[in-house]
Symmetry: C2
Subunit: 361 residues, 2 copies
């Protein structure tokens, strides 16, 4: 087992990473917990609910399961309320502990429920998708969607522990693995050039879920995310670099309708666009943009952005919440392994978007 | 104008108190605010909306009004969502500032909306009821109700400023004034004996809204609440003393159906019960319990608890969230001006409740 320590003003906590962590969940339940609520969905609950609860039972605490409908479409207030209904009808108090057992949707919703239930109870993240293991479970961002925008309602709220069982990835569809790997290579691109190189060398092993490769990728991703988050818990500066490829990616996701492309797929493609923009604005060498594209392809994500039409691309990117005060800002790469957030000239952006429009459908 | 400074780990901010503060609201809007959303209800909006917006216009910012239906019955998710709808459909970003213009219901809802919108935007409290001026606007507790419990969903989230215009109390029904005064005398009882004495001497002036008396009472209440809150922002210990009379009070409110008695009325009566319990458990002199009763009466609150029946009293008090881990704990008064939280013998509690049952209906 590996442990990564996260230090933020909002809380210090360990991330435990390794095969079989699901069976050790009781380690993360504090002595003074009055009860445990396992928040999961129908899919993950069927696969891992009993095992998780069996492991938690070793804590000797009362255990309640709250099973939500599956999918991003349910990341809304109605579903969040099902958590509150469950907690309140079982009379869980402020010393109860919530356990988020699932992907990023469950982690984000359970985290926000923990932040808000009685103004804050403790929770443990048990991420079961690769994306959740390397990204959403670390850093304390929680949220639900609103009909007028994704992740618009939430809180910065840290878990008391993150338990990552790399074995559970075996049941994950391979498309989800590829999408998660896009966030993995993102860390190399923005902050750790040697890790980017390592990902190039291990792309095939990662897709095949080679245990050593996956363990290393998850650990290094958590370390890098923890590093960024510890310096900027509330996203006032540095943390923005984690959004590499995301302004383009969000436009793809919402332009095609959420769920058409997976988030990680859109981010993978968006990172190629961000690299192209970096070439135009900061002179990132063509050889480097080619490497980004090749690695996104190697991990199994699409590399050709959809043709949304120039105006629609622009419209979609304007509503992205990173447009504080009106100016469109992007995470750019001065070099592989380095990131910088800055405004870009309009014509450079249009040139990159034209590549999307010009491509074969 | 008086200024009280609040210092908590979650934020430092001023409380400005004085007649006419409504016309100075622009003082509290930071330079970098991108827009202002005034969150109010139909009653307060009609009375003070235009004046507040006129004053805020001096900041030069775009101003949006979000007017909610009036009343505790609307302190729920549906109404909270109206705030998010308004913010999102007007595309307010993370640098917008919310202004809570109203009583405790508006303050609690707007505060929770500010805590959650895009994971946190700034907000200013402009409390317009006495209860909100001396209690709910200070300390950072925000919440909405759930069908299974009051204030069950919320956040600890501090405003960037509190603006208290004591003039607006002129339009408040006198029953609301009395209810607010119950929380005022609470501060004297738990922590400031001279202030309790002062309230006795000024009860009539306070009820008549004598400007000097009201100013002093509001300022001293804010100071005392700020003192308690600064030592215990997240209610892990000391802050519990602010709940003097509240375990009884909540039982009255929910036993009779919310809205039958005002919260402050129930708390006023509950403080008498807490004093009686203190006499039995800690030997608080009878002369002191008599003074508590006399002052609650003098400010215009009921002094006779409703006859809910012993068993129902006990049931209602069990669900109060101060029963962490099962034991019923009360805020007791070893002397006037001193408070202590502790478990009480069952028979002492029954004896106090019997007084409620025995009384004429
Ligand atoms: N909080 C953050 O910092 C952050 C960061 C990135 C993404 N997110 C959020 O994360 C969400 C996406 O997360 P996701 O990609 O994990 O999606 P998801 O939670 O919807 O999971 C994807 C699918 O895989 C299923 N699944 C989960 N674990 C499984 C397993 N071990 N075996 C088989 N199936 C399994 C799920 O039930 C679901 O159907 C989005 O809502 C996004 O906004 C949050
Ligand atoms: N956050 C906290 O620490 C805290 C503390 C105590 C109470 N509370 C909450 O506060 C709420 C009660 O607050 P409240 O007593 O202010 O009730 P309220 O907000 O419902 O106001 C009472 C009534 O007075 C009206 N009103 C407000 N200002 C007025 C004015 N100047 N002139 C005429 N009418 C006016 C309101 O529209 C309402 O009809 C409860 O929801 C309670 O849970 C919160
Ligand atoms: Zn992402
Ligand atoms: Zn109160």
């Amino acid at each position: 087992m590996n442990t990564v320590q996260v230090e933020t003003p909002g809380g210090h906590y360990p991330i435990h990473i390794g095969p079989g962590r699901l069976d050790a969940l009781a380690d993360s339940i504090p002595e003074d917990a009055t009860a445990i609520a396992v928040v999961t969905n129908t899919v993950v609950g069927r696969l891992y609910g009993e095992r998780a609860e069996g492991a938690l039972a070793r804590s000797g605490k009362r255990i309640l399961r709250i099973e939500l409908p599956d999918g991003e479409a349910h990341k809304d207030w109605q579903t969040l309320n099902l958590i509150f209904d469950g907690l309140l009808s079982s009379r869980l108090d402020r010393k109860a502990v919530l356990v988020a057992l699932g992907g990023g949707v469950i982690g984000d919703m359970c985290g926000f429920a923990a932040a808000s239930y009685m103004r804050g109870v403790r929770f443990v993240q048990v991420p079961t998708t690769l994306l959740a293991q390397v990204d959403s479970s670390v850093g304390g961002k929680t949220a639900i969607n609103h009909p007028l925008g994704k992740n618009m309602i939430g809180a910065f709220y840290q878990p008391i522990a993150v338990e990552i069982d790399t074995d559970v990835l075996d049941t994950l569809p391979s498309r989800e693995i590829s999408a998660g790997l896009a966030e993995v290579i993102k860390y190399g691109l923005i902050i750790d050039r040697p890790f980017f190189d390592w990902c190039e060398d291990n792309a095939a092993a990662l897709r095949a879920l080679d245990p050593d490769a996956v363990s290393h990728a998850v650990r290094r991703s958590c370390e890098l995310k923890a590093l960024v988050v510890s310096r900027d818990e509330r996203e006032s500066g540095l943390r923005a670099i984690l959004n590499l490829g995301h302004t383009f990616g969000h436009a793809i996701e919402s332009g095609l309708g959420y769920g058409t492309w997976l988030h990680g797929e859109a981010v993978g493609c968006g990172m190629i666009q961000a690299a192209l923009l970096s070439a135009l604005v900061l002179g990132l060498p063509d050889a480097d943009t080619a490497r980004v594209r090749a690695l996104v392809q190697a991990i199994g994500c699409p590399v050709q952005p959809p043709d949304l039409g120039l105006q629609r691309w622009l419209d979609l990117m304007q509503v992205d919440k990173k447009t504080e005060g009106g100016q469109l800002r992007f995470v750019l790469l001065p070099a592989l392994g380095e990131a910088r957030v800055q405004g870009v000239p309009d014509d450079a952006l249009r040139q990159v978007l034209a590549l999307a429009a010009a491509a074969p459908a």
